[in-house]
């Protein structure tokens, strides 16, 4: 019988990464369930890329262990890469190879390769197949990388900020592609991104990394259920003491009224407060801001 641990696409246990005296990642522990979309968020320099490098077996963590499908990724990288598709933060394909040559190169390395799917995607993205990779635009490079990553029909897709530097249309195309992949094959996705609005409709679970520490590891649904955004008009006199029972994570008062993110209780009990849907971006800013104040 295969245990649940063995089938977990990603399991990070107490992972630490240190560069000299700098602790880039500290005791990060989380796991990704099959078919889940896990979004790892964090400010620049929070340790996301270091964690992704450990997750792909590019770098050995200084502490802890990263497992993909129950196998230590550092020691079983080659075998595991048959099941993993990767889109790197900086498109890293050889700049002199054309998209056509890249497809031929990657296609030859996998036992099964969805050539028709790759061709169809490159065609849909309108990629010039005979132009060297280095001469493609930033968006086109990302699209080629995504088409190549989906070529071996991976069980796990690791995307390191795939929409970085992309315009709105190219970003939409990336997310549409992911949605299609999820709907069709139920691929597990691990993604790091700064595009919080874009990922909000896709992510099942959120991890927030701040100064190397995993601040949050929860389902997006839970996070939104636990946090409420409220606002009040200038005419309403809402004092900080009024909000105290609701454990505000963040609050602001100005000439246009005030707003706050509350973490417990039912704020509708308080007269004059309006409850609003909370976006992932607002939640992220509040959580990271709170952590920065605390530190």
């Amino acid at each position: 019988m295969i245990s649940q641990v063995e089938t977990l696409p990603v399991a990070c246990r107490q992972v630490g990464v240190r560069y000299g005296r700098t602790q880039a990642v500290e005791e990060a522990t989380f796991q990704v369930e099959p078919g889940q979309v896990y979004a790892l968020l964090g400010r620049n320099g929070s340790g996301k890329t270091s964690l992704v490098r450990c997750l792909l077996g590019h770098q050995k963590p200084t502490a802890g262990r990263v497992e993909l499908y129950g196998q230590d990724v550092w020691s079983a990288r080659q075998a595991l890469m048959h099941r993993v598709g990767v889109v790197a933060e900086e498109p890293d394909a050889p700049p002199l190879m054309t998209a056509r040559q890249l497809v031929r190169f990657c296609g030859g390395l996998y036992p099964s390769w969805d050539q028709a799917g790759v061709d169809e995607r490159l065609d849909r993205f309108r990629i010039p197949l005979d132009l060297p990779f280095g001469r493609l635009s930033r968006g086109q490079k990302g699209q080629v990388a995504l088409a190549l990553a989906l070529g071996p029909e991976p069980d796990l897709l690791v995307l390191d900020d795939p929409t970085l530097g992309l315009d709105a249309v190219a970003r939409r195309e990336v997310y549409d592609e992911l949605l299609g992949e999820l709907a069709e094959r139920g691929t597990t996705v691990f993604i790091t991104t700064h595009d919080l609005a874009g990922i909000e409709g896709l992510a099942d679970r959120i991890g927030i990394l701040h100064q190397g520490r995993l601040l949050v590891d929860a389902s997006l649904e839970d996070l939104k259920a636990r946090h409420r955004k409220v606002s009040w008009a200038p005419s309403q006199a809402v004092a900080p003491t009024d909000l105290a029972p609701f454990a505000p994570l963040w609050s602001r008062t100005g000439s246009l009224g005030g707003e706050a993110i509350l973490t417990q209780g039912d704020p509708s009990q308080l007269p004059g407060l309006q409850v609003h849907p909370l976006s992932l971006e607002e939640l992220f800013v509040a959580l990271v801001g709170e952590a920065e104040v605390a530190s």
Partner: protein, 268 residues
């Protein structure tokens, strides 16, 4: 097959260096057409082209070695290989093969046309080709691996460079001392054997260090440097130990050099 895929990928970006070999060949053939004494000109051009062919192969190997992994690492492009289901040995050997192939082919392009034109192809193919190719190939392999290791050491800018400096200094000092002892005993043939042995052992050590840099260092330049430094330090130590044992054995079993000179001999 995966090794060849990596080799092919390396060729795609660098095959233009073959033009150097071809260019030299064409220049040489043009130069020959202006010569009046063709026999002497051909002989000269044959020596020149073989020399240039080997030299070109060595320079290409050296440049290839200095960039084949370290530049990818510095430009953060090595992840492309690591994200594919490729073993570290496949990545490393694929790159080494590409470098050797390019060096060899450029060397051949530079030298073969002049050899053929000079009517030396029979002699070349039947007699000297093996040793010339061997020298070209062995030198290329050594330089490629050496400059791969040096480029990792230089580009990582880590403190392990201190160990490297100690290793290189100790190694050359040790080789100099052993060489002096053999020269002092007029054991020149044994000296050549010692150097060839050190070169072969050094090439093997550099190969192992290069492989470990890819397998254990992966995308981490500093970690790769650590593996290179430690492997080379061990290799240097082992080679010096073997060299010392060999030298001691040679000196022990060699008859002492007679320095005595007799007046009668001088007047003869």
């Amino acid at each position: 097959m995966s090794i060849l895929a990596v080799t092919r990928r390396e060729w795609t970006g660098r095959r233009n260096v073959l033009l150097l070999g071809l260019g030299y060949s064409v220049l040489q053939l043009i130069g020959l057409s202006f010569e009046s004494d063709m026999k002497i000109a051909y002989e000269k051009s044959i020596f020149m082209s073989v020399g240039v062919g080997i030299g070109l192969a060595w320079v290409i190997a050296l440049l290839f070695g200095a960039t084949m992994v370290s530049r990818d690492l510095e430009e953060r492009r090595f992840g492309f290989f690591l994200n594919q289901p490729l073993h570290a040995a496949q990545i490393f050997l694929g790159k080494v093969l590409a470098g050797l192939g390019l060096a060899l082919l450029a060397g051949l392009l530079a030298s073969v046309p002049a050899l053929l034109l000079g009517g030396m192809w029979r002699q070349f193919l039947l007699k000297d080709a093996g040793s010339i190719l061997g020298i070209g190939l062995a030198g290329s392999l050594f330089l490629l691996l050496l400059f791969h290791a040096v480029s990792i050491q230089v580009r990582s800018r880590s403190l392990w460079l201190l160990l490297d400096l100690v290793t290189w200094t100790a190694f050359f000092a040790g080789v100099r001392w052993l060489s002096q002892r053999l020269m002092g005993a007029w054991a020149f043939q044994d000296l050549v054997h010692l150097w060839l042995g050190l070169l072969a052992g050094g090439t093997l050590g550099l190969g192992i260090a290069g492989y470990l840099q890819v397998a254990q260092g992966r995308a981490d330049l500093q970690r790769g440097h650590r593996w290179v430094s430690v492997t080379l330090a061990l290799t240097a130590g082992l080679l010096l130990l073997a060299g010392w044992v060999d030298t001691a054995w040679v000196l022990k079993h060699r008859p002492p050099v007679a320095w005595t000179s007799q007046p009668g001999n001088r007047s003869r």
